[in-house]
Amino acid sequence: MIRFDQVSKLYAGNTRPALNSVSLEILRGEFVFLVGASGSGKSSFLRLVLKEENPSSGQIHVLGQNLGKLTNRKVPYFRRNIGVVFQDFRLLPQKNVFDNVAFSLQVIGKSKGFIQEAVPDVLKMVGLAGKSGRLPHELSGGEQQRVAIARAIVNKPSILLADEPTGNLDPATSAGIMTLLDRISGSGTTVVMATHDAGIVDTMKRRVIELVSGQVVRDERQGGYQTHAVPIQRQEPPPAAAGLGSRL
């Protein structure tokens, strides 16, 4: 589904790479937490999957496509298979809930009939059935994030990327969002979620990939936010591993 081969990303003007020789594979239907401190490369990872950035070196395959060989003209069509959710929701403030979700279908040329059917369905699934006429500012943070999730999945993407979707929400609301994401994952969608929220990661018991300074230091099935198992063994432990060790 998503495969990184020796992927490095160096932003111009930086000496330290945002991602350093990352190799990993995420399979269909997996639910993966991407954890690590700010600046550890989580967002860069998600941007690379979306082809918002190109890697400095290495190969990325997403949905069977080699992103390095994907032409700019095809990128929009590639993105129709990937849903994205952000910490700051990114809703259109002047459009109501229905129109916000419908907008993402309109701009990819879906028919009116399809939109009239798909949008109420997805709103019902995220638990906003009665609120389709509300404007974003009339909703709570959790509800706004549900709208954003509805928008991301209304086109039935194979992959859902979530960049700290609970970052702005209180724990109870976050739990609700996680239940929703879990349900989406259960229906076969691959979910990759970058997060800082230790509580969520610990309760969900899913695959955890930990990044430190752009390197994968842990890839654990049913892991917690902090590991109790032995981290990935490397031939040459990166310098940052010392910092990790002291933190543990």
């Binding site: 979306l50 082809k51 918002e52 700019n72 003209r73 990128v75 929009p76 069509y77 590639f78 993105r79 129709r80 994205v84 990114r90 259109l92 403030p93 907008f103 993402s104 309109q106 701009v107 990819i108 040329g109 028919s111 009116k112 928008r151 086109n155």
Partner: protein, 304 residues
């Protein structure tokens, strides 16, 4: 569905940037009016050239008893000299260039002079023998007059050889200068128009950057994102070109045809037929320019 969506986006954009759109309309209006004026001036020049060059002749003035310049010796050209001159005009060198020629004697020249300068004071002093006898030569190709002038100047009994085209040249120079000035102003204004369109489209895109971000995220194609902005520029420019076309047609109808053509002169002027050739050039040119500058301006927002 998609067309309706795109058009509603265009309408939104135009309303949101109303003042900028008005300025685009005005600037394209003025610049394209100058473009149209320059084209009309060129058409006018061509028309006058065609008209006058057909009528322009090379005059071979013969000596009178008062002339001392040229090949004259203050002696009237003799009958033998005239015969010789005619011989040269019929010679193998010049004959192919010449369509036909007429001889004008003293009396005919005097009659023409009196008619041309009727009422002016000098006419009463002039007698027929002051005015030179003349061979009026019509050329097949007026631009080859140099050969005739050169050949005839040296012939005995010829006082002077004058190509009438040279009297027209200053008029064409003035019209050309006016035309170049119009092109220059049009060029500057068009640059302003292009920059204005680009700025307006950027502003428009900036005010819709949330929508653009989401469009890119959910996989709207570049063409879909781009089209409303390009159309926005094109609509504004089309209004400007329509106004410019109206101005050009009005100028031709009311000033050229209504005023200039009413004055007594034999000069032909551009007519509405010429103006209607200019209109499509302005419309297509204005719309094309707007489309290109808007498309370039929006490119930054399409980077995937």
């Amino acid at each position: 569905m998609r067309l309706g969506l795109i058009l509603s986006e265009v309408g939104h954009g135009l309303r949101r940037n109303f003042s900028m759109v008005v300025s685009i309309v005005l600037v394209t209006f003025i610049s394209l009016t100058f473009v149209g004026a320059a084209i009309l001036l060129q058409q006018q020049i061509n028309q006058m050239k065609g008209y006058w060059y057909d009528r322009a002749q090379v005059a071979v003035y013969l000596c009178t008893q008062y002339d001392e310049g040229g090949n004259c010796n203050a002696e009237e050209a003799t009958a033998q000299q005239k015969a010789n001159i005619e011989q040269v005009l019929k010679s193998a060198v010049l004959a192919p260039l010449i369509q036909h020629y007429d001889f004008e004697d003293h009396e005919a020249a005097f009659a023409r002079y009196q008619k041309q300068f009727a009422g002016s004071e000098g006419t009463s002093f002039v007698t027929p023998d002051f005015l030179p006898e003349t061979f009026w030569v019509n050329l097949k190709d007026p631009s080859q007059s140099d050969a005739v002038v050169e050949r005839m100047s040296g012939v005995p009994g010829v006082e002077d050889v004058v190509d009438q085209r040279k009297y027209l040249q200053p008029i064409f120079n003035a019209l050309n200068a006016a035309s170049i000035t119009a092109v220059g102003i049009a060029g500057l204004m068009l640059i302003a128009a292009v920059l204005l369109i680009a700025t307006t489209i950027r502003l428009s895109a900036f005010s819709r950057r949330r929508e653009l971000g989401i469009m890119r995220l959910v996989g709207a194609s570049n063409r879909f994102i781009q089209t409303p902005f390009v159309l926005e520029g094109v609509v504004a420019a089309l209004i400007g070109s329509a106004l410019a076309s109206g101005a050009i047609v009005a100028v031709v109808q009311f000033f050229v045809q209504g005023y200039l053509n009413a004055t007594p002169s034999s000069t032909p002027f551009v007519d509405l037929g010429d103006a209607f050739i200019v209109v499509p050039i302005l419309i297509v040119g204005g719309a094309g320019l707007a489309a290109i500058s808007a498309a370039v301006a929006i490119r930054r927002y399409l980077k995937v």
